[in-house]
Amino acid sequence: MNCDRTSKLPAYHDGELSPAEAAELESHLSACLICSAELADLRGLSMQFAQVEQPRLSQIERHRVHRALDAIMERAVVRFAWSLSGVAAAVLIVGTFWLSQATEPVQAAPPWVDAAVYAHSLGDNAQSPAAQWYLADASQRSADDTP
């Protein structure tokens, strides 16, 4: 013997049917012995679960759980501090490297600048043999350095 409404009984028992569906099933239940017996079985099973005493944490277990959490939180803080110092160290290293690359060494002035400065400093003596030799040499070095 079977009834096609029995499949709806678990949802009814668990309060998962809409009010309209529940009302419709309730009117069926009053007339159907199969569904009534099935529902009684479901309720009996739930009753057995309800009678089981649920364990609770003892004070010692509760204390251990909280202490373990404290340790985890502490480790998380230490890990955060370490990662912060890691980031700071990385910034320092990158910054130092960047600064060392950004500061270009002072280039030596090309020979013609030296020559011009020298000629200017000689003033009236610019026509002396020594001055002429220096200027000629500077001109030659400028010509050599030009790519």
């Binding site: 099973l45 679960f49 309800a50 364990p55 609770r56 509760r62 759980v65 909280h66 373990a68 939180m73």
Partner: protein, 178 residues
Amino acid sequence: MQSNRSESDFELLKRSADGNAAAFHALVDRHADRLFALAVSLLRNHADAEDVLQETLAGAYRGLAKFEQRASVKTWLTRILILQIAKWRRDQKSRRSEPIDPQSASPADHESSAGHRMDVHAALATLSPEHQDVLVLREFEQLSYEEIADVLGVPRGTVESRLFRARAELRDKLKAYR
């Protein structure tokens, strides 16, 4: 640890995520007994249940920032616990050892004390892990089908069919020992 009852779970969780340790302890106090009872029902061993509870709470603490208000805090914590229990079961399987607990023994032990009477916990232990999970979440935790689906990460239809089969199997086992 003081738990401010006027604060909602969400408020406590938000303060915990902002680094307030006391708020997280308060949240733990609020849910620890329920999670512990659930773990004992599924593991039948107090020491293992305590270990799994600690792992669950540690996982919750690490995941505080990722919590989405899509689910309730209760459902979220229960989901983490069920994942930890699944991990524990896998580890047990790989070690091939049976749970032994003087406080909560195996099905065979439960049968013997009162003749051939088998209690719900002992009968539960004989079911598959999927059937145990769904029954415990429904009967002990009183979660709705949607909440169970969320905790187990399965469709609602799967919850209904598993629950139907689990109840039928459990009823058969309990009847056999009456």
